[in-house]
Each structure stands twice: as C-alpha cells, then as structure tokens.
C-alpha cells in the first residue's frame, strides 16, 4: 500500500491523556473553599506587573488569560482574586494524580505538572480489561475522592498520543472524549488548526500558504504535500501518520538544556550585586544538573533589558564536563565581563547545554584530589534535600534565597523535588 493511501488507524484506543483543568487555580479553589466559583488568578509574585500563570474557569470566562499581567486582568475583572503559587500544595496533587495513574499501568509519562499520559497497550488484556471509557470515569471519581470534590480533569482517549491530547482539550471543563476512526472526521470539524498540539501561529501560516485552513483540510492532505511543501521531510511524514491515529510521539523527550533566569527585583543594582545573583543562578543550575544526574560542557549567560527582548548573551564550550556551582560560576564570571552596564539589565539567566550523563570524570592533573568535588557536591545535595534547600549554600549568595525564591515554571515538573 502506498503511504498516501494510508487509512485511518482502526486499532483499539489504548492511550489516555489526563489534564487537570486550570490545575493551580482549581487546586487553590479546592484548598480554600471560599475561592470556589469566583474568578481567581495564580501568580508567582503578588504584584500588579506580574504575569498570570493560570486562571480559574470563572476568570477565563471573563477574558483573563495565562501570561496576562495582573493589572490588565484587574481592568477586565475588578473583583479578581490574586493568589500566590504554593508549590508544595501542587506537588501533593501531582503525586496523588500520578499515584492514581500508575495504579492502572506502569507506562505513565507526566508531560507537565498538570497532565500525563497512560499507555494501556501492554496492560489492557490482562489487568485493565474494562474499556477505557469506564476507567476514565473511575479516574475522575478517584481524583475527587482522594484529593477533593472540586477537582476536575479532562480526559482524552485515542489510539495515539496526539489524538488523545486533542480529545483531552475538548469539552472542558471535566470532559471525557474519545477520538478514533469512527468519529475522527466529526471531531475535527469542531476544531481550529491552532487547537491541534504543535500547530501554533507559524505552522498555521505554513499550512494556510498551501490552502490548508482547517483540521479536516489537514487530514485530507496527502503525504507528499505535507513532507515536501509544508514541513520538509520527516516532520511532514510524521504529521501525516499522527493525524490518522498512528503513534509517532512515543519516544521520550531528551533533555537538552538546564538553567534558570531571574527578573531583577529592582532597578539600579550594582554590577557586583548582579554578579551575586548570577552566582545564585549558577548554584540553582548546578543543583538541577546533579538532580537529573547530568553534567554539561557548555554554558550561556545572558542579560536583557526586558522579557522576550533579545538582549546580550555569550556562550562557552569547555573541553571537560562540569556540574558544580563554582565550575559554572567561574565561566559565567569571565563571560559576564563583556556584558552591558548593570543599569541596563532587567533580566539575567544562566543555561547549561551539551549535556551528558554524570559519571566519574577524568581527574585533571593539577586539580583537587580525585572524587573530592563529587563527594562534596553529593553531600551538600543530600543535606539540602533533607533539611530544605539552601541549608548549605555559597557564602556569596547568602540571603538571596529569600529574594530569589524558586517558583513554579510554566508547566515543568522536572525539578519539583527541588522546590
């Protein structure tokens, strides 16, 4: 059969995508009953200029969106209740959700703080013999029973990860939707191109350029057009298969960079003060690297006058891998010498790249004794893990942990344990 004649996948729907609705806001409404049925926005810092991380359905219904500044949102909804993120609370809910999901299959992958995928392919015949629709209803009930009655989740069921996520995005809040070969065309008529995961403005423009205006047009486009005209090569072929329900997204994502950025808390900090904050970022980055059992060879330091602006940045690729705070800071300090004046800087960041698995490193001839650095790092990490982060830290950064609190990043669960 030629690839362009590929029919829709008629296999059983054994992929379930679970998405907690407006996770942080719903968790706050669960924890604090008086917030229920009210417009709530969750932010990292309660200031008028901070960006909203998530909003409750009541706030969303009135136009409040993720990423919107608090003062803009207050103009739309004057009675908006703004609450700060509470990572430990979300960690608890995350663990509960993960526990529920893992009770059905060992093949569970959390995509972010509030969404995960259960692959029933290997367990359906022996363990979970009931259909996935019934399991979906059961998971919703368990979430309410084990976390709280106000918790809601959207569940999507499909033969592949892409369609399961698409289904989970429908019928919000508290929806349960299945997409398979029987209803794929019907379901696609309800969607816009940008409702599909992976199709944002740029890809939408590419599709529009060849006359693809809707998900149905997309589905009906032949493989040749997608792989030659729209996405160039394998991505186009993947889209062709993905839209028909075949799995192309099962491979785990590889971690490419580790880092942290920080919006300076005030203007007019001296160069030394900015360097201290960079030192603190190096410390966080080194902790994250070691937490993921990684080491890096490359480091980037950047500084910009405002968010999303290009700003200044330089990178350095070392011969030997590194993972300690001082090794990163040593390079960052040298690189930062060519940075613009401190008065022009609003945002700073440190990112490590060229990652590899952390292993015993070849000791340098003139370096400190073999293994001393590694055992010192692991001891510090163990103490900080047991007694709380920053129980032991670099003297230069003392006190900064109160200002530069590690907040919830948009979506990521990679370093939840470190918060």
């Amino acid at each position: 059969m030629k690839p362009r004649d590929l029919p829709l996948n008629t296999d059983l729907s054994l992929i379930m995508h679970i998405d907690l609705n407006s996770c942080f806001a719903t968790t706050e409404q669960q924890a604090r009953p008086l917030l229920r049925d009210r417009p709530v926005a969750v932010v990292n810092r309660r200031t008028f200029h901070t960006a909203i991380i998530t909003a409750s359905y009541e706030a969303k219904a009135r136009g409040v969106k993720m990423g919107m500044k608090v003062n803009e949102a207050l103009k739309l909804v004057p009675e908006l209740i703004v609450v700060e993120t509470d990572p430990q609370k979300y960690h608890f809910v995350y663990k509960k959700l993960l526990g529920i999901m893992r009770s059905y299959s060992p093949n569970v992958v959390m995509k972010s703080i509030d969404e995960g995928v259960i692959d029933f392919s290997d367990t359906h015949r022996t363990i979970n013999t009931s259909n996935l629709w019934a399991i979906g209803i059961e998971i919703k009930q368990r979430l309410k029973g084990e976390v709280g009655n106000y918790m809601k989740c959207n569940i999507g069921i499909a033969p592949n990860r892409f369609l399961a996520k698409t289904a989970a995005g429908m019928n919000k809040p508290d929806g349960l939707t299945q997409i398979d070969h029987n209803n794929l065309y019907d379901q696609f008529t309800k969607l816009k191109l940008t409702d599909l995961t992976g199709i944002a403005r740029r890809n939408e423009a590419k599709l529009h350029a060849v006359g693809i205006k809707t998900p149905l047009d997309f589905l009906n486009t032949d493989e040749m057009t997608l792989s030659r005209l729209v996405f160039k090569g394998k991505p186009g072929r993947d889209w062709y298969r993905r839209l028909r329900g075949y799995e192309v997204d099962a491979a785990p994502t590889k971690m490419g960079i580790v880092g942290r950025q920080y919006v300076l808390e005030s203007k007019g900090l001296s160069r030394e003060e900015v360097l201290r904050r960079l030192h603190f970022l190096c410390q966080s980055t080194a902790e994250k690297l070691r937490f993921k059992n990684k080491q890096a060879r490359g480091v980037v330091v950047f500084a910009s006058p405002r968010r999303f602006s290009k700003g200044w940045g330089v990178r350095y690729l070392a011969k030997e891998p590194f993972c300690s705070t001082e090794e990163i800071y040593e390079k960052v300090k040298t690189l930062f010498a060519s940075a613009p004046a401190a008065a022009e800087i609003r945002i700073i960041g440190v990112t490590c790249y060229h990652l590899s698995d952390l292993n015993k490193r070849q000791p340098h001839l003139w370096d400190i004794p073999v293994g001393l650095n590694e055992s010192l790092n692991s001891t510090i990490d163990a103490i900080n893990y047991k007694y709380g982060s920053h129980s032991i830290q670099v003297a230069d950064t003392l006190g900064l942990e109160k200002i530069m609190k590690q907040k919830i990043p948009f979506g990521s669960t990679r370093y939840f344990e470190l918060i």
Binding site: Q30, R38, I81, Q88, K89, F92
Partner: protein, 90 residues
C-alpha cells in the same frame, strides 16, 4: 490587592481522629488570638517537610475566612500560618 495575612500564631486545637475517613485526623475547632473558630470544611490536607520535621498542613474554612493550620509532628504543636478573608468584594 486582596488581604491575605501570613503569620505563625500558636493555636489550641480540638482534632478528630478516625481511621478510614478521607483524612485520618482533622481539626474540628481551634482558638488563636483569643478567637474561637469552628471548622466547617477541610479543603485540602497534605504533609510537607520543614527544617527536617514533618508538618501536616490543613487548609480549612469556617465559612467566613480561609485559614491554614499547621501541625508540627516533631513538637506536636499547632500554628495558624495564614488567614485570608478578602471575599466580600463580589
């Protein structure tokens, strides 16, 4: 913005213990700052680690305000760590 007070106020607590319920233990009534509060609902209860000790957090309400009660299991003492009562605006 809204009023939300962080504090670390010792509290005297009457708690219920019953195995098999959603929570094995939950506060029923407490006194802090010479005020008596009756717990109408436990929104969420979860454990955290603080300075190496296990604390149980109870996010609760009396119907007028939301409170956060913390039980330090190492010292077996209760604290009110937050009070939020900014809901009249609507």
């Amino acid at each position: 913005m809204q009023d939300e007070i962080e504090m670390n106020e010792p509290a005297e607590v009457i708690a219920a213990f019953r195995r098999g319920k959603k929570y094995n233990c939950w506060p029923v009534r407490f006194v802090f700052k010479n005020r008596e509060v009756e717990v109408k609902e436990v929104g969420l209860a979860y454990p955290i680690r603080k300075n190496g000790a296990l604390h149980h957090i109870f996010d609760i309400t009396d119907g007028q305000a939301d409170y956060r009660l913390e039980l330090n299991t190492a010292r077996l003492v209760w604290y009110v760590t937050r009070e939020a009562d900014h809901y009249e605006a609507t």
